[in-house]
């Protein structure tokens, strides 16, 4: 395993030059010994990232020259051995020790600063499929982008879990949201979700910490293919709402996969969007474990089975927004690449259930 550390540590604060090669070449400076990702984001840079704690791998960066110290053994990171051997590290865990040259694709969208705000549960509603629709009325307006997520915790509790926002933020970026929504699946034995499901939690105080992630970013006028597995529908709903409002021409195909008919949820929200934007949204629910002899007339199988030439989309021209469990997202990504999708247009949020 390649060791990115190459020179002895030297003391003293000084600034370091970071030269970036990639989609957008650029140069910026940070203080020596600062964490690369945090420093870049503090300067308003659109550095690819998601979790910021070394779990998701979205801030994967290739070190071309110079020295970066990883905070933890790279084998304990989501990077593959090949990536580590080729000089990749996680920017969220990498401390810059001098001038460096890196390879990463910086974007061009507004970075939303982190906030820690409180609120009270204004809606706690059971949906099919062991899903809760949770809405929180915030004490302080909160800014976020569609496709992002936040950590939720109950007031007074150490336990916190991350969930994607299920509705778009206010269209006017000068107005922050005063209420936010989430779709939360019960995970058997999960500390947070079991507590949430135990009884109606309306009125309880919650804390929100975020927003994180950069899933929903692409040209607003580009049509999209949205693929959601279970409560992966949450960010997809937010992205759909936002992009349908932002563009008059973009069209969307939504593949929504759950196990059985009885687990379909939030269809009313999708149908509301279809009604609001006629001719621009095609919904394709697909069930993976529906009984063979049931009355279900829709698609059966896994979401990847619908990603083919018959779907009626030009894979080379659209963007895709995928959210669901890790295996599902990876399978969809692989399928989309085979269908000729531009890898830079694949936006995915892979989650591992933590409950």
């Amino acid at each position: 395993m390649k060791d990115v550390m190459s020179q002895p540590y030297k003391s003293g604060k000084q600034s370091c030059r970071v030269s970036v090669s990639g989609k957008n070449d650029s140069t910026f400076t940070i203080n020596r010994n600062d964490m690369l990702l945090k420093s870049a984001l503090d300067q308003g840079m659109d550095y690819p990232h998601n979790c910021r704690v070394g779990v998701c791998g979205q801030c994967k960066t290739k070190l071309l020259s110079g020295k970066v110290s990883p905070m933890v053994d790279l084998a304990l990171s989501p990077l593959s051995n090949d990536e580590i051997e080729n000089g990749y590290f996680l920017a969220c865990q990498g401390k810059v020790r001098g001038d460096i040259e890196i390879e990463v694709n910086l974007g061009q969208h507004h970075v939303v600063p982190e906030q820690q705000v409180s609120g009270r549960i204004s809606l706690w509603k059971r949906l099919p499929g062991e899903v809760i629709e949770l809405r929180i009325a915030l004490d302080v307006p909160f800014q976020y982008e569609a496709g992002q997520y936040a950590f939720l915790s109950e007031s007074g509790s150490f336990v916190r879990r991350c969930f994607s926002f299920s509705d778009a933020p206010p269209a006017d970026k000068n107005n922050a949201a005063t209420e936010v929504g989430f779709l939360i699946k019960r995970l058997p034995g999960g500390q947070f979700s079991e507590w949430l499901f135990a009884e109606n939690r309306t009125g309880l105080k919650m804390w929100l910490h975020g927003p994180y992630g950069v899933m929903g970013v692409d040209d607003p006028d580009v049509s999209g293919l949205c693929v959601a597995g279970g409560t992966g529908l949450a960010p997809v709903l937010a992205i759909l709402q936002q992009r349908l409002a932002q563009s008059a021409i973009a069209k969307f195909t939504v593949i929504f996969g759950v196990k059985t008919q009885g687990e379909l949820f939030a269809i009313d929200k999708l149908e509301a969007l279809i009604a609001q934007y006629p001719g621009r949204v095609q919904l394709l629910p697909i069930l993976s474990h529906e009984a063979v002899d049931s009355d279900w007339q829709g698609e059966r199988g896994f979401v990847t089975e619908l990603i083919n030439e018959d779907l009626g989309v030009d894979y080379g021209q659209i963007a895709s927004f995928i959210c669901g469990g890790l295996p599902m997202v990876e399978a969809v990504e692989a399928r989309l690449l085979k269908m000729g999708m531009n890898p830079d247009r694949i936006h995915a949020d892979k989650f591992m259930p933590t409950g």
């Binding site: 395993m1 060791d3 550390m5 002895p8 540590y9 003391s11 010994n33 910021r52 704690v53 070394g54 110290s69 905070m71 933890v72 053994d73 084998a75 304990l76 051995n81 401390k95 820690q116 409180s118 915790s153 109950e154 007031s155 007074g156 509790s157 150490f158 336990v159 916190r160 500390q191 947070f192 079991e194 507590w195 135990a198 009884e199 939690r201 309880l204 105080k205 804390w207 910490h209």
Partner: protein
């Protein structure tokens, strides 16, 4: 320039202990006595915020490297002497044993911890092998990955919640660390596509040098000397490090696991404690940047502080005394350091501990059923 000489205190005390053991008789108590009185004297001194001279860092590194090597020599010497009839009566044997316990904790553990946090591979390797001196070759991995990532939350096995006694902490922290060690080792061999028995796995190297170390102790001291030497390391650095952890984050709460803030740890900044512990009691600075060498750490002048270190350690073994000491400190922390969310967590922790007097009427103390603890 005097800063460099200060860190010769540890090897000096180590030399006194070794000499005392060789002399035998009452001199076997020398190491224990010197450390005890230095720390007691230190308890009456004011905190020091002095920043160290960093013009010649290699001097510091040479001193701590030699200290670690000397600690190995010391424990081997103890095993050899204890295995025979060198110490004679019970009193000298006890003195030598307690001296080794204290030496192991106060003199041996800090440089090992310092070195295994370093980036330089030679120093880090010495630190890793030096974990034999704290009788746990896996201490580094759980410390660096879990403790530093989950500071001041119950997910960290090194963390003690409000109301927890040190005895309860022992029963939780050791199994927690062993479980975490296994989990992390398994992650590494799985990630590298290896079987658990692959000789290239990190655990194999650790188990090997640990076995060699224990073998040398028994070879030098026989069964009696080997057992006494191992016992001094277990009761000394191994156990006392957990007392240190117990004290250093006791009752503090973090609402942002993975994002350390300077108020998530207690500090002890009296001068001799700083020197002997290699600034580890300047704990906020260490957590803020765990790669920073001890001589680079900036004492947190305004951060949360506990009473002098030796008092905390002694009080920890008398739970009512420890709680009496900690309650006003935690109340102050809640009021002056915690953010709003942490204050709420603190209030619930107070309720969990039965410390209702620390909560005011507005504190959210009633836990919703099922989500009281992580």
């Amino acid at each position: 320039m005097t800063d460099y000489f200060k860190y010769l205190l540890s090897p000096f005390i180590l030399s006194l202990h070794a000499w005392g053991m060789l002399e035998g008789g009452a001199f076997a108590w020398l190491g224990f006595g010197v450390i005890f009185w230095v720390l007691l004297f230190d308890a009456f001194l004011k905190p020091s915020h002095h920043r160290r001279d960093t013009r010649f860092p290699w001097v510091y590194d040479i001193i701590i490297t030699c200290t670690v090597l000397a600690c190995f020599a010391n424990i081997f010497l103890y095993a050899h002497l204890a295995g025979g009839s060198h110490f004679g009566g019970v009193a000298p044997q006890l003195g030598a044993f307690l001296g080794s316990v204290m030496i192991g904790f106060v003199i041996g553990a800090p440089p090992v911890h310092e070195l295994f946090h370093r980036e330089n591979m030679a120093l880090r390797t010495l630190g890793r092998i030096g974990q034999c001196l704290v009788f746990d070759p896996w201490r580094e991995i759980t410390h660096v990955v879990t403790h530093h990532m989950h500071t001041a939350t119950p997910t960290d096995p090194d963390y003690a919640r409000r109301g927890d006694t040190v005895y309860g902490h022992f029963t939780r922290t050791f199994p927690g660390q062993w479980k975490e060690s296994y989990h992390l080792e398994k992650m590494m061999w799985t990630k590298r596509g290896r079987k658990w028995y692959d000789l290239r796995n990190a655990w194999v190297f650790k188990a090997t040098y640990f076995a060699v170390f224990i073998g040398v102790l028994f070879a030098l001291g026989g069964v009696k000397g080997g057992l006494l030497a191992c016992g001094s390391l277990i009761l000394g650095p191994r156990m006392m490090l957990e007392v240190f952890n117990y004290c250093n984050h006791y009752g503090l709460v973090s609402a942002t696991p993975g994002r350390f803030k300077m108020h998530h740890t207690w500090n002890h900044l009296t001068p001799f404690t700083r020197i002997l512990a290699l600034e580890i009691t300047n704990h906020a600075g260490h957590h803020d940047d765990s790669y920073k060498p001890f001589y680079e750490l900036e004492p947190d002048e305004t951060g949360p502080k506990q009473p002098p270190f030796i008092l905390c350690v002694i009080a920890a073994f008398v739970p009512p005394l420890f709680m009496l000491m900690m309650k006003p400190l935690l109340k102050h922390w809640d009021e002056h350091y915690a953010n709003d969310q942490e204050r709420e967590i603190g209030a619930r922790e107070n309720a969990r501990a039965g410390w209702h007097e620390l909560n005011n009427d507005e504190s959210p103390t009633t836990p919703s059923a099922g989500l009281a603890a992580a």
